[in-house]
Each structure stands twice: as structure tokens, then as C-alpha cells.
């Protein structure tokens, strides 16, 4: 007989920072989502002329006033540092009130420093050390002055969610007093070639849950959240990370389980860890990649989990705005959940115009919806049958 999970110590999210194609700080990112900013463009940073699809959510120039001389010339590390710079500004504080040894860093990524590997193998062998997947996370830790634990997670496109769960557990276990957790990934030839080869990229726009959806586009971003034990967090906070669940599909190396059983188990595990009933969920920030396979599978799993309320819980996907940000996606979506609660608005799903009966959910469409969700659910699916879900409570 299974017992209910024990109630875990609550983990507060006290600040967040982002760098995305639609905004390089939290406020611009949020207003971009609300106003329908389109971050998709022709990729310019590397050659794409030989690829079937050369569009994506590319960040054209890093705008934050960081002293880049202190940061390795590695784009992935620089995205992380940009997001951390924003997080520091959002937190409105100088150095944290924790010892450097007690500040942890947990980042998720699908690609790590692979672009450095590309460059090392072509003409810059000295870059090889940065090609390991955990190199950008350590680069971020050095920039932060952290001498605490540095962990890199790679559950493909669910990495950001897994990283938040591991960061929370690191705090509960007492390994750190503050954890900066989230995810990142960049656009590079490696990943563009790969997804082009899989024919998963659309030549149309990204249309999550739309009848005409024909695939995803990739985007680059980094998103970080500052986690503290709630009793030490102080009054200023975005919300609380209540639960994180994960599950394997054991189905296919690249495609999701056709019945969505893995993401369903991950959602149920997150709800159980959060001690929250599905009936109490006010909003779902969905994975919603806009591939023909993902969206109906995810919708069916959501309907099973949400039960009779499935048609009444607003759902959105932010991937229409700047593509699938891979390792950053789940952390961005967690931030969207918390900002929706703070601002009382749920961003519309950019690209969704014609609803698909196979994705029978209350998708927020056309314009933001005025609603202040208290409890939100975020879902993530990745290559290799990686599934993860988060339950968050807005402040």
C-alpha cells in the first residue's frame, strides 16, 4: 500500500532573471508575452543556407551591461551570466547574505557547451575544455563567486524543471542556503542540423495546439530562479515551488509515449509532492511544442489529470513567441506561472488561431486573459522519454 508523500519544506522563489529573444530582463520578457511580441527571425549568427529551415528564436545581441572580460567567450555561459545579471537586478540586492560556499548553482541544458565543441573541432582546439556539458554551469558559478555545489542536469528539454527540483532538494537537505537554478540553451549549427534532419522544424509559424500546427522552431534563452528555504526567504518573493515530479516514458528514443503516460505520471508526482489536488490547479503552462505528435498527447494527459475541470483550466504555451528554448524552456514556463499570479494576466498562445479538437483544452488565445492563478502546473517533455512537471504557488 502506498502512503501519501510527506509534506516537504516549502521552497520560496525570491527572484528570477531571463534572457530571451523577446526581452533581456524579466519585465520586457513579460510585456513581450502579453503584447504578442514575435521573437522568431532568420538566424544570422551562423550559416543556415544549407538547412531546410533557418529560422529560430535568436538573440541578436546581448544587451546587459556585464563586464564581458570576466566571462569566457562561450555563448552558453554568456546567456547564463546575462540571466543572472538580470536576476541580481530583480532581487534588488548586492551580494547575497550567504557564504559563497553555501550558494549552489543547478542548471539544466540539452546541449551544454556543444558549440564550443564544434569550434574546437574546426579550428580552436583550446576551446575543448568548454565543450563539456557542465562547463557553462561552472562558468556561471565562477561569475557569481559561488564556491558551493554546482550541478548540471540534462534531461533534454525537461532539464529546467529537473534542475529546479534538484535545487529545491539541495536546500531541503541543507547542502546550500541559497540556490540559483534554471536552464539554458543556445542556437548553434549542431542543434539546427539535428532538428532539420529530424524534419521537426516548421516552415510556417509555431502554432501550439492549432489545427494547422506543423512543427516547432528552436529558440535560445536562459532563465534562472533564486531559491531559498521559505523560513529564510524574507517577505520579497515571486512565489513558492511546491512540487516537482519526473517520470520516464520507456517508449521511444525521440518521440513521446503515444498515450502520454510519462507526462501524466510526472504531473501526478509533482502534485503529490506539492500535496495539491489537481482540482485546485488554476493555470497550466504547457510544453506545447506545436509538433503534430506532442500537443494532442499532452492535451490528453492533461485532461486525464485535471479530470472534470480540464475544460475550465486555462492553458497556454509560450513557444509561439520565440520557439522551443530547450533546456531553458521549463524554467521560463515556471517564471510565467509566477508572473501570471503576480500580474493577474495569463499570456495568450501566440500562433494559435484555429483550435484543434484533438487538443481539447481551454487554451488562452488571441489576447491575455485576466486571471490571477494561485496554483499553477508546468509540464515538460524531452528526448529520451524525459518528463517533468512543476507545481508552483504565486505569492
Amino acid at each position: 500500500m502506498r502512503h501519501p508523500l510527506p509534506r516537504l519544506e516549502r521552497i520560496a522563489v525570491t527572484a528570477a532573471g531571463v534572457v530571451t529573444p523577446i526581452g533581456q530582463d524579466l519585465d520586457t520578457f513579460w510585456s513581450g508575452l502579453l503584447t504578442g511580441a514575435d521573437g522568431i527571425s532568420q538566424i544570422e549568427r551562423f550559416p543556415v543556407a544549407d538547412l531546410r529551415v533557418g529560422q529560430g528564436g535568436e538573440i541578436k545581441k546581448l544587451m546587459r551591461a556585464v563586464d564581458w572580460r570576466r566571462v569566457p567567450d562561450c555563448r552558453a555561459t554568456r546567456l547564463l551570466v546575462s540571466a543572472a545579471h538580470d536576476l541580481w537586478a530583480q532581487a534588488g540586492q548586492g551580494p547575497l547574505d550567504v557564504e559563497p560556499e553555501r550558494l549552489g548553482v543547478v542548471v539544466g541544458t540539452a546541449l551544454g557547451g556543444v558549440e564550443e565543441g564544434e569550434r574546437a573541432l574546426s579550428d580552436s582546439p583550446r576551446r575543448l575544455g568548454r565543450a563539456l556539458y557542465d562547463a557553462p554551469g561552472h562558468g556561471l558559478a565562477r561569475w557569481l563567486g559561488s564556491r558551493g555545489p554546482v550541478v548540471t542536469v540534462s534531461t533534454a528539454c525537461a532539464s529546467g524543471a529537473t534542475a529546479l527540483g534538484i535545487g529545491a532538494e539541495m536546500l531541503r537537505r541543507g547542502e546550500a542556503d541559497a540556490v540559483i537554478a534554471g536552464g539554458y540553451d543556445i542556437l548553434c549549427r549542431f542543434v539546427m542540423r539535428g532538428f532539420n534532419g529530424l524534419r521537426s522544424l516548421t516552415r510556417d509559424r509555431v502554432r501550439p495546439f492549432d489545427r494547422r500546427r506543423s512543427g516547432l522552431l528552436l529558440g535560445e534563452a536562459a532563465a534562472l530562479l533564486l531559491l531559498r528555504r521559505e523560513r529564510e526567504a524574507g517577505p520579497r518573493r515571486l512565489g513558492t515551488l511546491l512540487g516537482c515530479g519526473s517520470a520516464g516514458d520507456a517508449s521511444h528514443i525521440a518521440a513521446p509515449d503515444p498515450q502520454g503516460r510519462g507526462i501524466e505520471r510526472a504531473m501526478r508526482a509533482a502534485l503529490a509532492e506539492a500535496c495539491v489536488d489537481a482540482a485546485d490547479i488554476d493555470f497550466v503552462s504547457a510544453h506545447g511544442t506545436a509538433t503534430p505528435l506532442n500537443d494532442p498527447i499532452e492535451a490528453a494527459a492533461l485532461r486525464r489529470v485535471l479530470g472534470s475541470r480540464a475544460g475550465a483550466v486555462p492553458v497556454n504555451s509560450i513557444k509561439g513567441a520565440f520557439g522551443h528554448a530547450m533546456g531553458a524552456a521549463a524554467a521560463l514556463e515556471a517564471i510565467v506561472c509566477l508572473l501570471a499570479g503576480r500580474h493577474g494576466q495569463i499570456p495568450a498562445t501566440l500562433g494559435l488561431e484555429e483550435r484543434d479538437s484533438a487538443c481539447d483544452l481551454d487554451c488562452v488565445q488571441d489576447a491575455p486573459r485576466a486571471l490571477r492563478p494561485r496554483l499553477s502546473l508546468s509540464t515538460s517533455l524531452g528526448f529520451g522519454g524525459c518528463n517533468a512537471a512543476l507545481v508552483l504557488e504565486s505569492a
Partner: protein
């Protein structure tokens, strides 16, 4: 600050394949001497069903073979671990490097892109054994594997699973030249390995701590060679042979972080949890 303690899981079984051979008995007393001038000891591509694994890479097959070795050690069939009550925690520092390199250099030209993901190894293992429970993947050396064990202990203690597999795989052969050019100076050989630990709920005490200026894995590395993420599991395999029921301690290091994992047989006393 004292190392936080948690309820230790019980080690039910351990499967180890390495460049030295199968199991702890194959491990040498001195890696450099046993290597006899070889800079690398490799593991042959396991002979698994060629149709089922037609697109799989060597590192994936090594992961599957390590789980089979663990099941043999446990005296269990694969049905004993199938399902949603088994967690899978995977750790590697660099098992993705050969696939990434091949894809970048387009050697062979037809590599299936999803196999470049770190997640490819646990995916093949999960598919082969029907593992649908909690699922996490960490990238790094010894400390990453130790954290997988700690995560497994947390999941077991919370009741999120009934058993947990901690799997680590490292392959070097296809990127031997690259590893030689970037790894820190170490006299011993690179040793490919795949190892799988089966953990079940236990009653002892597990502590995990980060050490300042303590001993890193140098001692055991001198014995085993450089196994990166597989090192803690190989160390546990050795400890099971020699330590009996006494405390078991594993040290390891990666990128300047030195960590220690310690099992003690003393009964674990539950701390009150904050609500």
C-alpha cells in the same frame, strides 16, 4: 556545518563492467602497473540483439549491459525492476562526447540525432527494462554520481519509488585524442566503465558532504584508473567485497569539488520536518 544526514538506502546489488573486466574481482591493485603502458582500457561493444539495438551506440549498450550485470548480481529477472516504482538516475561526465563528435564531423553521415543527447543512454535502458518511474540525469564526474545516490535516497525516503537504479557510463575510445588534450595531469590510464547500483529502502545513515582541502579520489584513482562518473560505483563494488557490514566511505572529485559519501550502519533517526 555538519554534513546533513539522511536515511541510507540499502545496496541490494551492483553490476560493474570496466576496461579491467567484469566486476570488482577484475579491478587491479595499481592501475598504472596493470595498464602496462596502455593509456586507455576499453570495453567492447556488448553483443546485444542487433535488430533491437540497430541504431544504438556503444555507450547505450554498455548501460543496458551494466543493468543486466546488476540483475545477475541480485539474482533477479528484469520484471523485478520494470514499472513506475523504479527510479532511474543516470550520471556521466562525457559519455555523450563520441556521439557529439561524430555528429559534428558527420563521420558516417547518418547518425540519428537523438543519440547525441545525454538522455540517450538512460532512454535505451528505460526502454529495455520498462523503467517508468522518477527519472533524472546529472552531468559531471564522481560528485554527480554521488548526488544521484543522494537523490535516490531522497526519493526512497519520500516514498516516491520502491527501488532506485543509479547508473553511470563513461566511454573514451572515440575521443581518446580529445580527452588526452584536456584532462588534468594524471599518470594512470583512462578506463571505460558502466556500472549500475540497485538501491532499496534501508535503515542506516547516509551523509554526503563537500570537503575543503580534503583527500580527493586520488587514492582510489591510483588503483582504478580514471573512470570519472563510474568511479564511486566501482569504489562501492570494491567496498562490498572488503568492508563487510562496517561503514562505507566513497570520496571523489571533479572540477575542484571534493565530495564524500558515507554509509553507516547506525539506525537513522528521523528529524522533524518543517511543514
Amino acid at each position: 556545518m555538519p554534513a546533513p544526514a539522511m536515511r541510507a538506502p540499502r545496496i541490494r546489488a551492483l553490476g560493474l563492467l570496466s576496461g579491467w573486466g567484469r566486476g570488482a574481482a577484475a579491478l587491479p591493485l595499481d592501475a598504472s602497473r596493470a595498464a602496462a603502458g596502455r593509456s586507455m582500457l576499453t570495453v567492447e561493444r556488448p553483443a546485444l540483439d542487433p535488430e533491437r539495438f540497430r541504431r544504438s551506440r556503444r555507450e547505450c549498450l554498455m548501460g543496458v549491459a551494466a543493468v543486466r550485470a546488476m540483475l545477475e548480481d541480485a539474482g533477479l529477472g528484469p520484471e523485478a525492476i520494470a514499472g513506475e516504482r523504479t527510479a532511474l538516475l543516470f550520471s556521466t561526465a562525457a559519455a555523450y562526447a563520441p556521439s557529439n563528435r561524430e555528429f559534428i564531423e558527420a563521420r558516417g553521415g547518418s547518425m540519428y540525432f537523438p543519440y547525441t543527447a545525454v538522455a540517450a543512454v538512460p532512454a535505451e535502458v528505460a526502454i529495455e527494462f520498462g523503467l517508468t518511474g522518477p527519472y533524472e540525469i546529472l552531468v559531471g564526474g564522481s560528485p554527480a554520481t554521488m548526488r544521484c545516490i543522494v537523490r535516490a535516497a531522497a526519493l526512497l525516503e519520500a516514498g516516491a519509488c520502491d527501488r532506485a537504479l543509479v547508473l553511470a557510463v563513461e566511454v573514451f575510445e572515440e575521443c581518446a585524442d580529445l580527452f588526452e588534450s584536456v584532462r588534468p595531469p594524471f599518470e594512470g590510464p583512462l578506463v571505460e566503465a558502466a556500472a549500475c547500483l540497485l538501491l532499496e529502502p534501508g535503515e542506516g545513515v547516509l551523509t554526503f558532504e563537500r570537503l575543503r582541502g580534503g583527500k580527493d579520489g586520488g587514492g582510489v584513482r591510483g588503483r582504478l584508473g580514471e573512470m570519472l562518473a563510474c568511479e564511486p560505483l566501482a569504489t562501492l563494488a570494491l567496498a562490498r567485497e572488503t568492508a563487510g557490514k562496517g561503514p562505507v566511505q566513497v570520496n571523489g572529485s571533479w572540477r575542484g569539488e571534493i565530495t564524500r559519501l558515507q554509509w553507516s550502519g547506525s539506525p537513522y533517526r528521523t528529524r522533524p520536518r518543517a511543514a
